[in-house]
């Protein structure tokens, strides 16, 4: 058709292999992961490729994976959720207290706790989408509030989950920890949501340009609310997994998860500005973190060096793969 279109199209068509593309597609983290796996294999194949160690890596992915996948949805809308750690703490504590060792209660309580997570998300979504407060501030506030509520309930361990629940969280078949199913299901559901439903398209649209989305009839408010609901739900799921593994409720269980989750999402190639990013990348980021953490113990690395190595890896991953226009 028009020459103007053709001209510019031709100029841009040359295939470019630049970092930002690779990073955005979420492949970059997997390259780092592959390199790390290769290194570990070369270094200590017999230690790394044991069913036990693989199970460790997979287990370490579950809780971080759940909150990261939820975080990813929020980040895609251009938001951020600093409260996921506190939300996981509170929901996990509530789950243990409410179940309190009664097998009959397990299922209803799990549903109730997931609903609480979703409610937290609704609250976030409304404050951010309706009242139009910045997500960073809203979730910083709830980060304090939810942890505060957890401490108001108890500052010492209390409650008890049922054996079925804790067995599910702790048992494994060969290299496959049963708890990993939860992560698989969560990733599958969120992937379905993001790539196969209108909501998913809207999440990307709102993150790309919320004004443009709004004027084209995208329900911005409800998209944002849903995104935070998904994030809250998954934080609650993480909380339940924490409680199930602990068998009892702890008011500190999820502390610090938020920063790791955000780091995993960003290293996975999602832009904190919203609209860009893939689930594949985020899962890669989570795997990367799980590999790092488990390697410290596997390789018996001097404990005083752990933070240093962790910091170097995060900086290197961020510096190499988080590209400029993803700002």
């Amino acid at each position: 058709m028009s020459t103007a279109v053709a001209t510019t199209a031709r100029a841009r068509q040359r295939p470019r292999l630049d970092f930002s593309r690779v990073a955005r597609s979420g492949l970059a983290t997997w390259i780092v992961v592959a390199a790390l796996v290769l290194g570990l294999t070369v270094h200590d194949a017999s230690g790394f490729w044991t069913t036990g160690n693989i199970a460790n890596v997979l287990t370490a992915m579950v809780v971080l994976g759940l909150v990261s996948v939820g975080q990813n949805v929020v980040v895609l809308t251009g938001g951020i959720d600093l409260s996921v750690g506190s939300a996981a703490t509170l929901t996990g504590l509530l789950a243990a207290i409410m179940i309190d060792g009664y097998p009959e209660r397990a299922i209803p309580v799990v549903i109730a706790v997931l609903a609480i997570g979703a409610l937290i998300g609704v609250g976030h979504g409304l404050l951010i989408a309706r009242v139009k407060l910045p997500p960073f501030v809203v979730t910083l506030a709830t980060f304090f509030i939810l942890q505060g509520v957890a401490f108001m309930i108890t500052s010492s361990p209390t409650g008890q989950v049922t054996k079925n629940l804790s067995n599910f969280a702790l048992e494994k078949t060969g290299f496959f920890p049963h708890a990993f199913i939860v992560l698989i299901v969560a990733v599958a559901l969120v992937a379905f949501l993001l790539y196969r439903t209108a909501l998913g398209r809207n999440v990307y649209a709102v993150g790309g340009d919320s004004e443009a989305a709004r004027s084209n009839g995208v329900p911005v408010t409800s998209t944002l609310v849903w995104a935070y609901v998904v994030c809250g739900l998954l934080a609650a799921a993480a909380g339940i997994m924490l409680a199930a593994r602990a068998t009892i409720g702890s008011p500190t269980a999820g502390q610090g998860l938020e920063l790791s989750a955000i780091a995993a999402v960003v290293i996975g190639g999602s832009s904190l500005m919203g609209g860009r990013g893939t689930l594949v990348g985020t899962v890669g980021g989570v795997l990367l973190f799980a590999l790092i953490e488990t390697s410290f113990t596997l390789l018996q690395i001097e404990a005083t060096l752990n933070d240093l190595i962790r910091g170097l890896v995060i900086i290197a991953a961020a510096a190499i793969f988080v590209s400029k226009d993803d700002r």
Partner: protein, 501 residues
């Protein structure tokens, strides 16, 4: 309209913002199958009217009628559901999303809540076909497409809906040549399907050619409306500005002999052509013509030290200038960019601060800002350029487009540049302000400043330039002196169809 009930009608719309009455009883009525042009200066209230018609804003008074029934849109979703669709002046194509996702934005097709990709593709394909983009790859990211294609995607998005009223807000402001023609074709065919089209444009020739009806807005009121046949361009201009603007382009003064900037073998970064040799004289105005993506902007930016060079030299006043923004600015070569909101202004700063942004050292003593000097600087520029602001403290973001452009100009004029580079100096600016800016450019040239500007508006290129360089595929393919400048010749060179060059 022959007595039939208009599809969309607005009566006596009033909209007040703190301190500004954007609309003051404006009305418009548009019938099915008609193209109704809405013209007016910037700040006349066109955009506000569109925002009310599409439910983005609610009117303080007045009513909107659809098929004669009063409607009250609670938001864009309701307007869209009623069949009122707008294509906005500022592109709402999302760069990170695919063509398919962009066309289907806000109107996803699902089956049992799951995206129905086959249906989506079908709808998108059909809509894209209607705007002449039938063969575009649906999976491509929008950011990889040209501006023109993206504009067409916007229209396709509107067409994919059950649209009864299509509002086009300056769809051609960023386009030229064939792309422009294709939009016109689309508009005509849409109207022929019985859709009511409201068409907003600053290009009055285009309006004459395309519209059936016209409504002129001035100061928030509809001052004049009627069939297009009754309006020639001068009349429209008169109605818009409330006075005559006879001579838009004053006669140029002859330029001096002194060479201000000389360019030898210049190749912008990524350019492997033969390089550009070029001399710019004091008081000369040179226009850069060419299609979108022809390398105009890149050349201008290379002059301004932004973007790097593959080779070649630039000298100003006989002294060589290194590549780099700062070296260029120090040498007195400054650029007024096309995207003034993105590259020209800090919209959150008061006007005085933007006026002095590039010459901040000049109003500071040892790093200390001298408020009085700054205010004086503002007053000087306000007088010289006719900036209309409520005062030095007004936030720049609150000014109209034309006034913002004047602030960008003021910012650079305070650095006393020797070479002024302008990229689309009047894009999105109304007729009245355009004339003011042309006069200003002439005056600056008369004072000895050398000016190079790039523009898609051929009238502007022909009227303003003493010399024209035509770009195509990243190279300067033709040079025309003032006496040889004619629109047709430029177009031939730009398309590479003529015998020229």
């Amino acid at each position: 309209m022959s007595g039939a009930v208009p599809v969309l009608e607005a009566r006596g719309l009033v909209k007040e913002f703190p301190g500004v009455r954007a609309l003051d009883g404006a009305s418009i009525a548009c019938g099915a199958g008609h193209v109704h042009a809405l013209v007016g200066e910037n700040g006349a209230g066109k955009s506000t009217m569109v925002r009310i018609l599409t439910g983005n804003e609610s009117a303080d008074a007045g009513e909107v009628l659809l098929d004669g029934q009063v409607v009250r849109f609670g938001g864009p979703r309701e307007a869209l559901a009623a069949g009122v669709t707008a294509v906005y002046q500022e592109l709402t194509v999302l760069p990170a999303m695919s063509v398919l996702d962009n066309v289907m934005l806000g109107q996803e097709r699902t089956r049992r809540r799951v995206l129905d990709n086959r249906e989506r593709r079908r709808v998108a394909r059909e809509a894209l076909g209607r705007v002449g983009l039938g063969d575009v790859d649906l999976g491509r990211r929008a950011e990889d497409l040209s501006l023109a294609s993206r504009q067409l995607i916007e229209i396709a998005r509107a067409l994919a809906r059950e649209t009864r009223v299509l509002i086009l807000d300056e769809p051609t402001a960023v386009l030229a040549g064939e792309a422009l023609e294709s939009i016109h074709r689309v508009v005509r065919s849409v109207a022929a399907e019985g859709i009511a089209v409201i068409y907003i444009s600053h290009l009055l020739e285009e309006v004459r050619e395309l519209a059936d009806q016209v409504t002129v807005l001035r100061d928030g009121k509809d001052v004049s409306t009627g069939p297009i046949a009754a309006y020639d361009v001068p009349k429209m201009v008169r109605e818009m500005v409330g006075r005559d603007v006879d001579s838009v382009f004053p006669d140029p003064a002859p330029h001096g002999e002194e060479v201000v900037m000389s360019v030898a073998g210049l190749r912008p970064r990524g350019d492997d052509g033969p390089g550009l040799d070029f001399e710019l004289h004091a008081g000369e105005i040179v226009g850069l013509a060419g299609l979108l993506g022809s390398g105009r902007t890149r050349l201008l930016r290379t002059f301004a030290g932004d973007g790097g060079r593959s080779g070649g030299k630039i000298a100003v006043g006989g002294r060589e200038v290194r590549a780099g923004l700062h070296a260029a600015i120090d040498a007195g070569v400054v650029l007024v960019p096309e995207e003034r909101k993105v590259e020209g202004l800090a919209l959150g700063l008061p006007v005085r601060a933007n006026v002095t942004l590039a010459s901040i050292a000049g109003i500071a003593r040892g790093g200390w800002l001298d408020r009085r000097r700054e205010k004086r600087a503002y007053e000087e520029e306000r007088e010289r350029l006719g900036i209309r602001a409520s005062g030095p403290e007004q936030l720049t973001g609150q000014l109209s487009g034309g006034n913002q452009q004047k602030v960008v100009l003021a910012k650079w004029l305070r650095t006393r540049p020797r070479v002024l580079l302008l990229d689309e100096p009047t894009r999105g600016i109304d007729v009245g302000a355009k004339a003011e800016i042309y006069a200003l450019i002439r005056e600056l040239a008369a004072q000895g400043m050398a000016v190079v500007f790039a523009s898609s508006d051929l009238t502007e290129v022909v009227g303003l330039s003493q010399r024209v360089l035509v770009c195509r595929d990243g190279q300067v393919v033709g040079r025309l002196e003032r006496e040889d400048v004619d629109p047709e010749g430029i177009m031939h060179m730009a398309f590479g169809t003529g015998a020229a060059a």
